[in-house]
């Protein structure tokens, strides 16, 4: 394989100290991000997907959070060993991040231009003031904001949600990062705007050739956006492969459940009238996880082994290049 590996995460474990004792939000996650590829991380709220993303940036609020095990190697260097000063030269520069809440993620009292130029001040201080301003305008243009030379003087409250997310993307890409982490970037947006933002991200990936980590709870979006996918449940990856393989033949009942809960237009009339399938039950509390597989209580395929004392199933290769963590994988 000629793909350039940008990021290698192995056995990442993140713990939070709470009033009710420590909980492990991420329990040994392995991920790889390649240049020019999009990796999707899918899961429900509390599955640990956002915590994984924040760990890469070392932005886990500490206290109460702490990365207790594993490594995150970016181009061969372990980010977890870096000093905070070195880490700051990576953040926003080599690895950038955009967030779920475009309405509140920009500072309300500074202009859009000011906030983009701030990144350039930090990481590309060799540029002159004029060059930085031009670059900021170019970035806004690149993300499809009309009249960028005017917008640059505007404040976030003067922009719509979609426009703000575009500004966030412009800010994130200002230093041409190797990796862009997008933490549910379209969840808070209208569906039409969502499609526009996704299209924009795909276009920019082609153009800039970065690796993207795309976090979402929506498998439909994964199908549109991603090359590889990792499905997370209760802090573990339960299935991982390239997108078409997973969609063609999911091994884990949870993945299948997620796929069946996507509404589809091209179903036959009978199917349309039938109710949309859901996954029964709720995500268990991290304080009170069952022994064995965390998904057992909601799983239609659960066997004795899943509830047994063997502990949770390990992520194993079920077919070439396709891993799943399940005692009773789907055939």
């Amino acid at each position: 394989m000629s793909e350039e590996k940008l990021l290698e995460i192995r056995n990442l474990q993140v713990q939070f100290n709470t009033d009710r004792g420590p909980i492990t939000a991420v329990k040994g996650v392995d991920l790889d991000v390649y240049k020019g590829k999009t990796l999707g991380i899918v899961g429900e709220s509390g599955s640990g997907k956002s915590v994984t993303a924040l760990s890469i940036m070392r932005l886990i609020p500490d206290p109460p959070g702490k990365i207790i095990n594993g490594y995150i190697k970016f181009k061969g260097k372990n980010l977890l060993d870096m000093s905070l000063g070195d880490m700051r030269t990576i953040r926003g520069n080599k690895i950038a991040m955009i967030f779920q809440e475009p309405m509140t993620s920009l500072n309300p009292v500074f202009t859009v231009g000011n906030q983009i130029i701030e990144v350039l001040d930090l990481h590309q201080s060799h540029l002159s003031k004029e060059e930085k301003k031009n670059k900021a305008i170019n970035m806004l243009d690149l993300v499809g904001i009309p009249a960028p030379e005017k917008r640059i003087k505007e404040y976030p409250h003067q922009l719509s949600g979609g426009m703000r997310q575009r500004v966030m993307i412009a800010m994130a890409l200002a230093c041409e990062p190797d990796i862009l982490i997008a933490d549910e970037p379209t969840t808070a947006l209208d569906v039409t705007i969502q499609a526009q933002i996704l299209e924009l991200m795909n276009k920019l990936k082609e153009k800039l050739g970065m690796g993207i980590i795309f976090i979402t709870h929506d498998l439909g979006v994964v199908a549109e956006m991603c090359d590889d996918v990792a499905v997370m449940y209760c802090g573990r990856i339960v299935e991982a492969s390239d997108v078409s393989t997973v969609f063609k033949h999911p091994f884990h009942p949870y993945t299948k459940g997620l796929m069946e809960s996507i509404p589809s237009f091209d179903s036959t009339e009978d199917e349309t009238k039938a109710r949309l399938k859901t996954i029964e039950g709720m995500v268990p509390s991290l304080f009170d996880l069952p022994k064995g597989c965390s998904f057992q209580d909601r799983c239609p395929e659960a066997i004795d082994e899943c509830r047994g004392k063997k502990g949770p199933p390990l992520l194993e290769e079920q077919a070439p290049g396709h891993q799943a963590a399940c005692f009773n994988p789907l055939k």
């Binding site: 932005l59 953040r91 950038a96 309300p108 500074f110």
Partner: protein
């Protein structure tokens, strides 16, 4: 809309508000409070004496004329003469303002600078031991009566160590300096507890906002985040808090002035209250209201400078 037009219009709003203030003052002093002639002449005055005095004070005229008198004084600052000292009230206020302001203005500014600096430190080390010590200190300082600080300061620094003057005042720079140092320090210490606690709360409210996470993701250092991003957002509630305190500067620090025998506006007001010197009390009430109104206009203008979301309407 233009900032100048906005300011002008806000200043015009002062007129109706001031008329309202005058109405309240008139009501309080003419209708609710006892007959001033009784206070001035005592219980054994003859009816004739009282009639004479009423005429002299202009209390026999129709009520709306008396109301207009108050309105006139509010706009011209001509408050007439004091009943007890027979002095021109405006002169008294001018005289009293100097000791008051030489004490309160530097103390107010220093107090703000010191409190905000400490709270920035505390916010920087939030959740750490320094933060906890600071909060403990604030609450303890707030729990002690202000009288304790004044008495201890006078006894220890004034009497035991003999460092500062503890009574009196002299006009002119630098003669006044020794008289205002100790009350000034006590002013600052009195403000420290509540101010640091308040500013810390404001700063921490901002630190957990999403835009701070964005700033960290951009690679900004904690101190730049605190001083640039957080502080500018925190300025909005801080400005409000500060401006509310400003009428105290005008009125002077009642307690400190009386304990340190500083002949400022606070002491003057206290004396006037003791002597039922209505014109002086009226004048101070109106003056404080005017100050309050003007500073609230200034607050609104400050908002527009700090927060782009505030529109001029």
């Amino acid at each position: 809309m233009n900032l100048y037009v906005y300011t002008l219009r806000r200043l015009l709003y002062i007129i109706p508000v001031l008329l309202g203030v005058c109405a309240i003052v008139f009501f309080l002093f003419s209708v609710v409070s006892p007959d001033p002639t009784l206070i001035m002449l005592g219980k054994h005055a003859s009816v004739q004496q009282m009639e004479e005095l009423r005429r002299e004070l202009g209390l026999d005229r129709p009520w709306f004329i008396q109301y207009l008198d108050i309105v006139k004084s509010a706009f011209t600052f001509d408050f007439g003469r004091s009943w007890s000292t027979k002095q021109e009230i405006l002169t008294m206020i001018k005289q009293g303002a100097i000791p008051s302001l030489t004490l309160s203005l530097p103390a107010f500014i220093l107090s703000f600078v010191i409190s905000i600096t400490i709270s920035l430190f505390v916010a920087f080390y939030r959740g750490k031991i320094l933060d906890k010590i600071a909060i403990f200190g604030c609450v303890s300082m707030m729990s002690i009566s202000s009288l304790a600080y004044i008495l201890f300061g006078q006894w220890f620094f004034g009497y035991k160590l003999g460092l500062f003057e503890i009574s009196g005042y002299e006009y002119g720079f630098p003669d006044f300096v020794p008289y205002v140092i100790l009350p000034g320090i006590i002013w600052i210490i009195l403000g420290l507890g509540p101010d640091v606690r308040f500013y810390r709360t404001i700063l921490l409210d901002e630190i957990y906002q999403d835009y701070v996470r964005t700033a960290r993701a951009k690679g900004l250092g904690e101190s730049l985040i605190l001083f640039k991003h957080v502080l500018k957002n925190a300025m909005i509630p801080i400005i409000t808090y500060l401006i509310i305190a400003i009428p105290f500067l005008i009125l002077g620090a009642l307690l400190l002035e009386s304990f340190f025998s500083i002949p400022g506006l606070g002491a003057m007001t206290l004396n006037a209250v003791n002597a039922s010197d209505f014109p002086v009390i009226k004048a101070m009430t109106i003056l404080t209201s005017v100050a309050y109104i003007i500073f609230s206009v200034i607050t609104d203008i400050c908002y527009t400078l700090v927060d782009p979301r505030v529109r001029l309407k």
